[in-house]
């Protein structure tokens, strides 16, 4: 990195000594310092119960932050309520129930588009439909009738409608078949290439490392290991210690 590179020096997202959890006396995230650079695709790994999900939910404003700070493009957003984070350019896609099942595809998108100026809403939705032709075929279909992969597409499409600077996804591959996982990950790579910083929580270690620039490993609510995705992917000790048996089993696949 060269000095004087300008904006690149300000992290897209930075947490400092972040402590968070549902109950005040029971922190699940126990002091995480993380910096994500603009344009990076970072994958957050770790065993079950490590606090990965809680960590990203705390950043999104869904889990109370006990102490520490979250900065977005250099601005402190720690106390910004959940519904205003999206207005600051931080989009979050929850793991489950991430679409409104009783509403149509179009209404799901329209809800998020409400943030954009009125004159732009329709144009943004039609741009998204061009990008996600699967959703465009019948926009009046109820989102609850979509397949798992289509739901994930809709959730991501909805997050993109406000042109976020950073997209955080909590296990987008959960419950999807390997073929659909590959599609979703390719889509995330494309989004990343278009300039959106991405943080991805994943259990699907190999597939995630294949598209990520950098990987972070959380264990027991703390940042335990950090390195380029390529290095981590080839580190058998890391895999064995932190990624669980699934990683070693899948090691030869991709």
């Amino acid at each position: 990195m060269t000095l004087g590179g300008g904006t690149n020096l300000v992290p897209a997202l930075q947490t400092r000594s972040l402590i968070a959890g549902y109950e005040p006396d029971m922190p699940i995230v126990r002091g995480v310092d993380l910096s994500v650079l603009k344009g990076e695709l970072v994958v957050l790994l770790g065993p079950n119960g490590a606090g990965k999900s809680t960590f990203v939910k705390a950043i999104a404003g869904l889990v109370p932050i006990h102490s520490g700070t979250v900065h977005l493009d250099g601005q402190d957003i720690t106390a910004v309520p959940v519904h205003n984070k999206i207005r600051r350019g931080l989009a979050f896609v929850p793991q489950t129930e991430n679409i409104f099942a009783t509403m149509s595809i179009y209404e799901n998108l329209l809800l998020a588009a409400a943030m954009a100026p009125k004159s732009e809403r329709e144009r943004r939705i039609s741009t998204l439909f061009e990008r996600f032709p699967d959703l465009a075929s019948r926009p009046s279909r109820l989102a609850g009738q979509l397949s798992g992969g289509q739901r994930q597409m809709l959730a991501v499409a909805r997050a993109l409608i406000v042109h976020p600077s950073i997209l955080i996804l909590d296990e987008p591959s959960a419950g999807l078949s390997p073929k659909i996982v590959a599609e979703v990950f390719t889509m995330l790579q494309d989004i990343n290439k278009s300039g959106v910083t991405i943080i991805l929580v994943e259990q699907n270690v190999r597939a995630a490392l294949a598209i990520a620039d950098r990987a972070i490993i959380l264990v027991e609510g703390k940042l335990r290991h950090e390195g380029s995705a390529a290095t981590l992917a080839d580190d058998p000790i890391v895999a064995k210690l932190y990624l669980g048996a699934s990683a070693t089993r899948k090691a030869g696949v991709s």
């Binding site: 519904h83 205003n84 929850p94 409104f100 809800l111 998020a112």
Partner: protein, 303 residues
Amino acid sequence: MNPQFLVDGLIAGSMIGLGAIGITLTYSILRFANFAHGEFLSWGAYIALALSGALGFLFSALKTPVGPFSFGWSLPLAGILAILLTGMLALLLDAILFGRLRAQRGAVIIMVMASFGASLALRSVLEFIFTSKPAYYTKALQIAVNIGGGLRVTPDQMLALALTAVVVFAIHLLLTRTGIGRSMRAVSENPALAGVVGIDVRMVIRAVWIVGAGLACIAGVMAGLLVQIRPYLGHDLLLPLFAAAILGGIGSVPGAMLAGLIVGLSEAAAVQLIGAEWRAAISFVILVAVLLIRPRGLFGRQA
């Protein structure tokens, strides 16, 4: 069987339906059964009574009955103000009671009990101010018009039916065609996701209180106009209101309205077929039957 029960049932059903829409909205968005909702009907009726009296006192021309109706312009004007004030009352109640309990993430049963307490307190205040003696918007008597088939309807009753239809249609449009309505449905389905998508859940909650209490006020004024105004007006309708909200399916506005009419017609039919003393039991029977046979109601989501 005298077909007149159809008219009585539709009238009662209109009031029950309007009240039940408020219950179903607050239930689906705030996630608790608000037993103080009946008091919004009573308060709406009394606020309109006080304002209508004041308007009539200030401008006596407003007391002259309008066309075939029994009341002057003072009542509709007072009614519009009363809708706003009843909405304010609901917001106040949320600010000093329900909102605080929500912030503590208290159990649902605490909210329900709090609503019981609020209901008692609100009703007592009404009795204290207005006494429990029945009151009326107007002293004028109305002649019922024969509309054929042996059915007799007063102009006031016809107006109430028409007003109900217009209001229900407007609420339906609000929920399906406007941004705030879509936000309400989003919060009803998944409050956490609604926040993530950028919806200010607190603002939606405030809107729901205003809409629910406003509808309750309209139902209360209609009950006051067509029957009489009493502090127990809303409380006595509580069971039919909940029966209709649950029969219609929690969260469904058309369901609540249709179920309100069903409950109203069933009550009126029961009066003729079984006897007037069984009227109040009908809502209870419907409520229990729906909970046993089809807990999600006519149009409710699968739980």
